[in-house]
């Protein structure tokens, strides 16, 4: 994998040859017919499919949707005044600012570190391999990796495992994302309390019992926790007893507030006995019939709290491919939002793209490292420079041109980014993830089609790569 940087002998040779030829050899065109015949096929292809279309696109960008009527700068005006198109500029800026530098950094780290291990060929092959996959296939893979459902997406599954370990979900999870609330469970003798807990509406004293009715929990959940028929609690001296039950009878749905024979208790609920000052006087867990008992209770008024942990749904997944902004822009107007928000899906796609291209950066930088003058580095070492110092003061400056090549290549690459967006961003966030190249495709080739606008977008894309063209030309002529 050592390629870049063999000293420029062919160039020197070419220069010398050019001098020998001494400009135009005499004889006119007829002498060159043979050579020109070799040139012809390539020239025809390039002129017809690349050079002429470039001019035609510039022309089309000043014409209307069907490329028939002249509209002046109309298409450009539309582009810069439509916030859904301005979004594409913002996304291209995000990609251009983040991706080339990140991928070059990772390539540099891997390039340097992999030189020091015995299995460097295997390592390089593993990192490099994704480059041969189509962006389409890669996007589909990463779409699954970032899936919202922790049963499908490994990222959310990993977070869920960690989160469940720290704070396990309750037996009766309340799905807040679908609009359910803990307060909505309260039915009889229960009212909502702070921090998503429930509390008995009335107070109770030792020797008495209390009945707490809940609704909105499915029979399936109750079956899962082993809940059985609710049993009316018996009173016990010196203790607060009670029942938490599902106050809903399938045979008598309108009867509320009384314990009926076909109603179920809540098994395994964690409860706390609260003094009137709110401090805890003991805890209890309901049995299979929903009954509980707080023993050794002193005098005074108490309330029974159903702990919030019972209803905690735990971690249910982050929508990594969603359009939610990482920057606070909700208070801004539409145009400012389009220009300033950073949708989460962009970051997820950048990670997927890093997976594809880090190997490229690593290999090009690795080749650059291999071509460095080892004697110079060794000399620095002998003069007493430390490893880090040698790297910073010698390796990095000598490597700079290679790093620039990688950065520029990746910059051009992400300016034209298309496949990964089209295939990875789900429909709901596709608009927020849109880029220039994708917008060009959408305007030009989907729906009714607006060739004028699409051409204007292509022209803008071309203008953006002109600096890279100039850079390439200067490098060649250098």
């Amino acid at each position: 994998m050592a390629e870049i940087g063999t000293e420029a002998t062919p160039r020197a040779r070419r220069r010398a040859a050019a001098v020998n030829e001494g400009g135009n050899p005499g004889g006119g065109w007829r002498d060159h017919l043979g050579s020109l015949a070799f040139l012809a096929p390539g020239a025809i292809f390039l002129l017809a499919i690349t050079v002429y279309p470039l001019v035609a696109t510039a022309r089309n960008s000043f014409y209307d949707a069907t490329a028939t009527n002249y509209v002046g700068l109309g298409n450009y005006q539309e582009i810069f005044s439509t916030s859904s198109i301005l979004v594409t500029f913002r996304n291209n800026v995000i990609w251009v600012l983040v991706f080339p530098f990140l991928v070059t950094f990772i390539g540099l780290v891997y390039g340097v570190l992999s030189e020091r291990i015995r299995w460097s060929t295997a390592f390089k092959t593993i990192i490099f391999m994704p480059i041969v996959f189509s962006a389409t296939a890669s996007a589909l893979v990463w779409r699954t990796i970032f899936d919202l459902d922790p049963h499908i997406g490994i990222v959310n599954a990993a977070i869920q495992t960690a989160s469940d370990w720290v704070s396990p979900p309750g037996l009766y999870p309340v799905d807040t994302s679908s609009g359910q609330t803990v307060a909505g469970l309260a039915a009889t003798g229960v009212s909502s309390a702070p921090k998503d807990s429930l509390e008995s509406s009335s107070t109770v004293t030792a020797g008495n019992s209390i009945e707490l009715g809940l609704i909105g929990v499915s029979p399936a959940t109750l079956q899962l926790t082993g809940s059985q028929t609710a049993v009316v609690p018996t009173q016990s001296p010196g203790a607060v007893t009670g029942l938490v039950w599902r106050d809903f009878s399938p045979t008598n749905p309108t009867a509320k507030g009384q314990v009926l024979p076909d109603e179920l208790g809540f098994a395994g609920l964690k409860l706390t006995l609260l003094r009137s000052d709110g401090s805890s006087a003991g805890t209890a867990v309901t049995d299979a019939h929903g009954d509980f008992l707080f023993g050794g209770v002193g005098s005074g008024d108490y309330k029974v709290q159903i702990d919030p942990g019972n209803f905690s749904s735990g971690f249910t997944g982050v929508f990594w491919l969603g359009a939610q902004s990482l920057t606070p822009t909700s208070s801004l107007n539409q145009t400012a939002q389009a220009l300033l928000s950073v949708p989460l899906v962009d970051i997820s796609m950048i990670l997927a793209y890093l997976w594809i291209w880090a190997g490229f950066a690593m290999v090009v930088i690795g080749a650059g490292l291999a071509s460095l003058d080892r004697e110079v580095l060794e000399a620095a070492r002998l003069d007493g420079a430390g490893e880090w110092q040698t790297f910073r003061r010698m390796t990095m400056p000598m490597l700079a041109p290679v790093l620039i090549v990688v950065i520029v290549t990746m910059l051009i690459n992400v300016l034209k980014i298309f496949d990964i967006i089209l295939n990875m961003a789900p429909g709901s966030s596709q608009g927020e993830a849109n880029t220039l190249a994708l917008a060009m495709y959408n305007f030009g080739f989907t729906g009714l089609g607006n060739w004028g606008l699409a051409s204007a977008l292509a022209v803008i894309l071309f203008i953006l790569v002109i600096p890279a063209i100039v850079l390439n030309l200067r490098r060649i002529r250098g």
Binding site: A2, I4, P10, S35, L36, P41, G42, Y52, S134, V141
Partner: protein, 313 residues
Amino acid sequence: MSAVSPATKPVSPPTKPVTLERRSLLGAIRPSRAILNIVLVASAVFWLVPTIGLAIISLRPESLFQQSGWWTALTAPAQLTLSNYQTLFSQGLVTGGVLDSLITSLEITVPATLLVTIISSLTAYSLVFGRWPGRSVVFLVIVGLLVVPIQVALIPVVQEYRAFGSLTGFNPFGTIPGVVIFHVAFGLPFGIFLMYNFYSGIPKEMLEAGRIDGAGEWQLFRRVALPLGLPAAASLMIFQFIWVWNDLLVALIFLGSNPHYTLTIFLFNQTRTLAANYWIISTGAMISIFIPLIVFFSFQRYFVRGVLAGAVK
């Protein structure tokens, strides 16, 4: 340091393999070997996860997809089955099926690759060994075309195809030749660039001797340039093959509503259906990366050279 400029770098056999030099002189922190290995093993595992995940999803029944993560198969390998592949392949050559797409992809990729390699070699030969005036300007134009986005050509080429159709009766739009022509044109700048750099390293005397002996240009090309340029041509072919094989945009536009489409379009269509079938998507994706993987592992060296030379595209 202009040595890194791709233009000055001929594709030549590596003189000093990177791995030969065990002890690195490259500086940087010297972490303990154990930490270094742990970090790199973790990175390698991280890089393998998506591919392994895709492979496992394609090997599990669709019914398990929603129930449990693919990683559960790591401890329960009994879940794995080839039934998804059997189902897809047993459909045979049905239009729009995975086998049909595989063949369409090959029908586009093979000619596009061969044409780019041949035409690039011819053009580069003319630019390097010809003596017509203006060669350097033409080469500069080609270098300029290297990074031109294909987006600037899409609409006019569709228009050209239509015009060609009304003129000759054959409209390449919606046909495989239409896709191939576009791929060839946009593969040429890089191909010519790569072959140009390689041919520049061939001593001109070798051809001059032939010329003096009265050999024609075609003979010189076939007997001298073509054989000597084989390593570069191999790099170009592999690079171009993978490039065209993985393309979505060009095929999407120039195949139009052709019922036979490429594997990338097959996958794209699958994600667009309301009830996305993950068994089809994952199995199709595995099939689509299978051929580039074979090419990659068989010709890794040539591919890497192509990539290094193309660090501008």
